[in-house]
Symmetry: C2
Subunit: 252 residues, 2 copies
DNA sequence: CGGGCCGTTGACACAAATCAATGTCCGTGG
DNA sequence: CCACGGACATTGATTTGTGTCAACGGCCCG
């Protein structure tokens, strides 16, 4: 039985608890989930499309992308996942992968057996509910990406992407300069935004005029409100700033 | 207590059972869910963005779209839902709507109280699981839309959209001509595909060359395989043709 | 009969893609 | 320690798919 105090899963539980109410006993059960650690090299697919999984993945460290592609092999990233995320929690309920998962920087991944997750969900309805809820937040992010790629120009797309990642990294975007690591290349940024690497490069230069730069895989935002304006960003959909009384528990 | 034999929810249960294993008792419980019928006129929002819901919606008849928009008020449709779908089943677990729901044709909607759905999910883990699974299929459709809008040209986007809807309407796309009602305007089609109404019109004319037409809100596909080729369509992600042994039940 | 909604068509503008070359950094092996 | 190759970023010239603007037509319905 793993020791909960030193569990890698603390950030995951913390994230669940920002949206759902879980008892300490339930939190404890999640923290002591069995796991297998895996180091994944940059640009390596650790889940392939079509694969039938018997475990879900958890990101301890690194940046992970969900990759799809069109018939010409041009890739489209349909989700980004940072430390503390479970990129394919949905595989618990839908074990055939429809996209690949790739490490975009050197990453530490935990493989958690479906059997354990399912057992937990069956025994604790509140945990099942919290899992379901977290999957739905990912889904809302996805809907925003459709809007982003479908109805915004290049500058707004990149600005929106940077705002979203700033919030998810909790780079406290209030006043002053916001800065954080975003370990991806301009090429991968293009694959997120449905653009060309060349055009991403030009557009990033445009964004410098409003005090936002991306160099050496590091984002620096000098004027947060200017960037949110350009990116038409409203963080509501991320569901990450709920007040305690807004957190939900259905069962019991 | 509603009568299960004449329940409007039969198509919904049938859809759940295509992917999940439910006992007849469980199916019965879903069929007898309490409901309030609502007629909704074309172009009417029956759920507004930001609204806090105490019920989920079920489409008995008609076509429903999930609408988002950018800062200039240009709309992007992020999901389509046909008869038998629950467009916002996720609201059970996430009651604040982040998008609007609009009837795209005259529609009959059932409002089903969250309380009833939650009670069912709590009492029957297999139902909770089936609900979660169905939400994840919607999510995979969304991921495909990101690819569609991000990495395909106008012709492929519309072809893909038509293929998807053909499959979802079960317009048995095997051999021969496929035809079905798709009660939306070219303008709304543009809002799905991230295009301009004018360009949709021109692109549809292109598609006529490969035997696909859309006139009077009716799709007619003479050469299914040609359309799937142009639209790079692979129906796998819809999870609607699972063999019985592929259907899943985790609990019990 | 008239007014909307929707579809259709043409001329033109423009954002982004494409093609191509050069630059910079960095790790690696001779 | 330097030469080399590879990954990534940068820049310019040009093309192209799609957007924009504008006008017209058909059809339904009041």
């Amino acid at each position: 039985m793993p020791n909960s105090a030193q569990s890698n899963l603390h950030p995951f539980v913390a994230r669940l608890c920002r949206r759902s109410k879980l008892t300490t006993a339930e939190q404890e059960r999640i923290l002591t989930l069995p796991e297998r650690v895996k180091q994944v090299a940059t640009n390596h697919d650790f889940v392939e499309s079509g694969e039938i999984l018997d475990h879900a993945c958890y990101v301890v460290e690194g940046l992970v992308g969900r990759f799809d592609q069109n018939a010409r092999g041009e890739r489209q990233i349909t989700a980004l996942h940072i430390a503390g995320d479970m990129p394919d929690l949905h595989s618990v309920v839908q074990p055939t992968a429809t996209s690949a998962l790739q490490a975009m920087s050197t990453s530490t991944i935990l493989q958690i057996p479906h059997a354990a997750l399912r057992g937990l969900a069956a025994a604790h309805p509140a945990i099942a509910e919290a899992f379901w809820r977290d999957c739905m937040v990912d889904s809302m992010v996805l809907a925003q990406w459709v809007v982003n790629v479908g109805r915004r120009d290049a500058q707004a797309r990149l600005a929106h992407l940077l705002c979203e990642m700033a919030c998810r990294y909790k780079a406290t975007p209030v006043e002053g300069v916001v800065a954080f690591e975003l370990p991806m290349s301009q090429w991968q940024m293009a694959e997120c935004a449905g653009l060309t690497p060349v055009h991403v490069n030009r557009t990033l230069k445009q964004l410098q005029k409003i005090g936002t730069s991306f160099r050496n895989r590091r984002v620096r935002i000098e004027d947060w409100s200017a960037l949110t304006r350009v990116g038409e960003f409203d963080r509501g959909y991320l569901q990450d700033d709920l007040r305690p009384e807004e957190r939900i528990r259905i069962v019991n």
